[in-house]
Symmetry: C2
Subunit: 425 residues, 2 copies
């Protein structure tokens, strides 16, 4: 690794740390002014941004992408307008910094409170979507954190242009331009250097595919908040309203199969399997020609009904398909469903459909996932749907933030104590 | 690394994960019964435990320890009585599991709440004190977490005996004995295996010296909550009550110099330095013969007063002495003090002494440390002093827990949603 590169990245991180201290005490009005300015700059730069984006789209890296990835990389006028609108929307959200979490007075008279404060410097490592550059910059800025952004190489020119607008908005409104910096190279060695700079960077959030996230988790000495995608289950209980269950599994599987809160597996209680499965299969096939990968019990039921299905392999029971494919199993009991989920799901989002409150409460308590839902689609596990107002991702970790991460989850807290000369005995 | 060892540690972690699911839904009464039983077993086993502890004390590993470390390794009747009492005390603490953090109903009628739940499986990696085995087992148990304990090799027999009592207490009260397991070997390879088992273990807490913590942070693919020790500052402002400041710095430095919340550095505003420093130096020398390592300005003042001091090196300004040594600097202003602390402290605990409320508020806001105190000793940053009732350590990380970690901080949360058939549009 070149000494120059290490020095360059280290200097960048040191500047981010200095900027973070200024940003941590900036007022809400100042931060919102920078956000409004940024939205205006994006609007004003539409033509230049589209031209820059064309350079990326014509590059060899972009040519090698799948059509879906190329689509994610592409900007157009509508997307830029939406981006500017999302920046203005973050300006309207409440500022989490300074919120008092709790307070108490100790017997010795020491007054204590815990106050929400920014984490400090956050590194975001992501792949091809250029809107992530703005989304992450804006959420970090509003929550008082400095951001170091490391985007994908196929998107480098667009990201550079967007980051320049952020720096300009910061500088124009009297905030440190270095509070948001893009790593100015796509050299992999720069990422390796970044992940070791724990004296300046306090948190790394990788956003992208599992291999990127795993690389970051394995190579970082900085705490990482992971956003793995999900293997989400819907369990249809013996006491389910079967029409409701059908509506929920169709929504959970087919409304957007490529996202982490889409259902990947259906568990059906043996008592209702013969009634439910043929109807559900017809609905899933009608909605999106879903491929059903079945265990022997569910396969037998669908075979009787002459409905298309395939035999599941062991791997299908833990698979994240991100496609119109659903694994299906029949379970013997609620306990069987809970044990199956706790063993095979990814702990992201699971849903029970039942009219039996006792069964529901048992499921909600015993299933160890970030979100557990009763009579609702798994697709609701999302920062906007859960009312956070914004989302930097959905954490599949258990420390710090679990489930959707909004502005509040981009903060830590500090203890503030006020005394009158107390010393410890 | 032997395949057998990897398999053995993996199987142990898998059993811990299974046990954690049972423990997560255990009632408060059940958990408290196990704690009471454990305290009784410790009382009943006093003779055997002391005999086992002698085996460790006579081992080659123990012989190689410093007298202070040997003292930490040693059990006696009084220490065992205190240990049993601390177990009973944890039984009296409120159970954090099940607490509702917040709740809301979304416009679509979906009712949401965030509920505190155990993290899952926690690995504790520690050094020579056998009471850590019981402390950590008990805090994990009360907070519903399974624990995997990896203690120091010089303490292996004592730890094994204590862990056996925990397993017996669990089994006797109907909880899974495997909810607390000690790694049955002191082979370093076992630790390396443990730190990669992210499919079963959710959090690692290293407790010990900096080299242990760094080793764990660098080799773990599991999220780590670090408990580095502290480089804590006391800043005596121009508007300080100097008698109060003297009392605070003497307490912060001398009451227990080997702990992480002891002060390591004194900053004095130039306006009061000539008055304050000679008096403070006399008090520090009188209290504990403290060695003062001075910058040129403070050295000149102490030289005028003919008081003992040495010249500080650059390293002293960031040093954690853990001894009766104090670095001393004169600063030009409050801003200078804040910048110095944010650059050179470890972000653990800093204190300002001043009668000027505006200066205090600026310090409390701008100093980026886990605890910031006004007119109180740094020694208060502690789980018991802050009212948590217990402490597994003091986190110097910013994610999840910052500052003292008690039972609440050994938990995560999950989202629970209750619907009436909602699907996402």
């Amino acid at each position: 690794m070149s000494v120059d590169l290490v020095q360059q990245i280290t200097a960048l991180a040191r500047r981010a740390r200095v900027a973070s201290l200024a940003l941590a005490t900036a007022s809400t009005a100042q931060k919102n002014a920078a956000l409004e300015k940024l939205a205006d700059l994006i609007d004003a730069a539409t033509f230049d941004l589209l031209e820059t984006n064309q350079r990326d789209l014509l590059s060899a890296e972009a040519q090698a992408l799948s059509p879906a990835s190329r689509d994610r990389l592409e900007l157009n006028e509508a997307r830029l307008r939406k981006l500017a609108a999302s920046v203005r929307q973050v300006a309207t959200l409440p500022d989490p910094v300074g919120e008092v979490l709790d307070e108490t007075t100790r017997p010795n008279g020491l007054q204590l409170k815990r106050v929400r404060v920014p984490i400090g410097v956050i590194g975001i490592v992501y792949e091809s979507r250029p809107n992530v550059t703005i989304d992450c910059a804006v959420l970090c800025l509003k929550s008082g954190n400095a951001a170091i952004l490391r985007g994908g190489k196929e998107c480098f020119h667009t990201n550079t242009a967007l980051a320049a607008l952020v720096a300009q908005a910061l500088a124009d409104t009297g905030l440190p331009a270095e509070a948001v910096q893009l790593i100015p190279t796509t050299d992999r060695a720069a990422l390796n250097t970044l992940l070791k700079l724990d004296q300046y960077i306090h948190c790394i959030i990788p956003r992208g595919g599992e291999s990127l996230i795993r690389f970051v988790a394995e190579n970082s000495t900085i705490p990482v908040i992971k956003h793995y995608t999900g293997v989400c289950f819907v369990y249809v209980d013996a006491a389910a309203d079967l029409a409701m269950a059908e509506k929920i599994i169709v929504n959970a599987k087919t409304s957007r199969p490529g996202v982490c809160n889409a259902a990947e597996q259906l568990l059906v209680h043996r008592k209702v399997a013969e009634t439910f499965l043929p109807a559900a299969a017809r609905a899933l096939i009608a909605a999106a020609n879903v491929e059903l990968r079945c265990d022997p019990a569910s396969a037998a039921i669908l075979a009787m009904a002459k409905l298309a299905h395939t035999a599941a392999t062991a791997a299908d029971y833990r698979a994240e398909f991100l496609a119109q494919i659903l694994a299906v199993r029949v379970v013997d009991s609620l306990d069987d469903a809970i044990a199956t989920i706790n063993r095979d799901s990814s702990g992201h989002t699971e849903s029970i459909v039942t009219g039996d409150e006792k069964a529901a409460q048992k499921f909600l308590t015993a299933v160890d996932s970030a979100a557990v839902l009763w009579n609702a689609s798994t697709r609701f596990n999302d920062g906007f749907e859960f009312g956070l107002g914004a989302e930097i991702g959905i954490s599949t970790d258990r420390l710090h933030a679990r489930g959707p991460m909004g502005l509040r989850e981009l903060c830590t807290y500090k203890w503030i104590g006020t005394g009158t000369g107390q010393v410890r005995g």
